[in-house]
Symmetry: C2
């Protein structure tokens, strides 16, 4: 297999085609890109870094590595209610990377560019003696003055979670061989959730546009930890009920196989679902939104004046968590 | 010495103070930042990655590593005529990094934030088992519809270079011990040019605002190579005269000590000077601009219809270059 060689050849062959749709990308021949926003729009920007062996597994398929890299940043945009626009890629490739890997990686990006209507507009490519290190800067736009934030959760607000909780975390544990004996269904689906999350881009925009939520965060490092950020940012506490957590049938089977309860799911990261607060008079509107998006929106608890997070079991007793979630060092 | 620990503590202690000036940075408590542009302004954005041992030396002072990281991206903005606005930092720190290193690194960023009137607005921090990998996304703005580009160089245009050529490259060679015996003056000054370039931010904006140049590039990978990008982008060729290259006294002494000629400077990177084309009727205006900025702007040759780059010696004979410059892999 051919190894990649020649920074400019790589850019021209694999990356420039991803930038065709954007005039301000200058076919990646400039060191900088120009972005033109709609009048009155504000720009939202975020950067996320993924390192082989740490944020993805070295033998993960290159297509899903690419998609995860982009989707993790799109999830950050979603948590603010922004509409995705474009992205920059800063890639440090190992010196012995196969060209076929790079080609497949770029196919993954191309597929997600169509899916999320975003375009590569620039980047930087370097060789590294260390593990592959991929840093992606995503851009989105906000049409009005409002934004979903982490500081506007109020006592009494319902707490909602989109989708289901824990699938990605269980997928990672399956890949690590920590839950042997689970059949391909549901095993493969859980692994797919780990490798390729679904950022809730439409949900974030709809929550903002319809005025249904003020405070939101994406669950990347574990629900307990990410909810902790919302609570700290807003100066409130919360109650979460274990039996109300949305757990997929697949996750249920994996938990049974591992002989574990669902409490551990509160510290598992990688789901990239949206966690948000909404006033109690928005319940009907949220039911309607869930139907519009064909996406479950589950009420898992509520914010309250008392500080801290109380997790309650089915009997209403408070549960102690062993760990709140992932920290990067 | 204390090792750094705790992603959120590091962000709060060292990075959040750098983001105080920007409301849309949310004190780095959000995963994304909001940027509000002046009405009609366009955003310019660029990302650059620096890896320890490859783009800087592991024992370079942390302050200059920080400054170089920021300035390399500001240089990309300068080459488009943009005004610096803000930046994101994606940092992968080695697990055994000393906290004092990080503190000094952030002091370097703070100093340059004042100098260039930019603010940290967000980022991502991870730990890496590999070499330190720093990726910085810079934002600038363009007030009008014009931009400096790489495609508007015309036959007959004068070619100008700001500042002096080759100091940074000689500084790197001095640090590597390749030019022994040079006294502290001029040695230390050349090393400083390598470690801490001066991006030509004011020059880029002035060239655009005064309508003096259309095509420009910053010399990061070597003059011959970067000029090659301008020529390819514009579909023209050029003549460059060796005896007209602006070479500092310090660089001259280093070349003498090494027993080398100035031809090698054409392939040395790291100067981050601006190379630009200007119509011949702009010479007086460029002389005035050089005086305004206290920055030498030297005519080093001109663009022509014949393709390719011809480098001429003092006798008008064409010189063959051994290498055109730096490629990243």
């Amino acid at each position: 297999m051919a190894r990649i060689s020649g920074e400019f050849a790589v850019i021209e062959r694999y990356l420039a085609p991803l930038a065709q749709g954007a005039a301000g990308a200058f076919s990646l021949k400039n060191d900088a890109a120009v972005l033109q926003l709609e009048p009155g729009a504000r720009l939202v920007t975020t950067v996320d870094c993924m390192i082989a062996g740490r944020h993805f597994l070295p033998d993960d398929p290159p297509e899903t590595v690419a998609k995860k890299l982009l989707r993790v940043s799109l999830s950050d945009l979603a948590a603010m209610g922004a509409k995705p626009l474009a992205y920059l890629l800063s890639a440090s490739w190992p010196q012995d990377l196969e060209e076929s890997w790079l080609a497949a990686f770029c196919l993954g990006l191309a597929a997600d560019q169509s899916r999320y209507d975003v375009t590569l507009v620039g980047g930087d490519t370097t060789a590294t003696p260390g593990p592959m290190t991929l840093s992606l800067t995503a851009f989105g736009t906000l049409a009005g003055a409002a934004v979903l934030d982490r500081s506007s959760l109020k006592p009494g607000d319902d707490l909602y979670l989109s989708g289901t909780l824990g699938d990605a975390h269980l997928g990672l544990r399956l890949l690590r061989g920590e839950i042997p004996g689970l059949p391909p269904v549901p095993r493969d689906g859980l692994i797919q959730r780990y490798r390729c999350p679904d950022p809730r881009v439409d949900l974030g925009q709809a929550l903002l546009e319809r005025g249904l939520a003020g405070a939101a965060i994406d669950v990347s490092d574990g629900l307990a930890q990410d909810l902790g950020h919302l609570l700290a940012g807003s100066g409130v506490g919360a109650v979460v009920r274990l039996q109300d957590l949305p757990v997929s049938d697949a996750a249920r089977q994996a938990l049974d196989q591992a002989g574990e309860t669902r409490a551990g799911l509160l510290s598992g990261g990688g789901d990239y679902e949206l966690l948000f607060g909404a006033a109690a008079d928005r319940r009907d509107a949220l039911t309607a939104l869930a139907a519009d998006l064909s996406l479950p929106l589950t009420r898992i608890g509520e914010a309250r004046r008392d500080p801290g997070l109380a997790v309650l079991d089915a009997a209403g007793r408070e549960v102690q968590l062993e760990s709140t979630g992932w920290t990067h060092f």
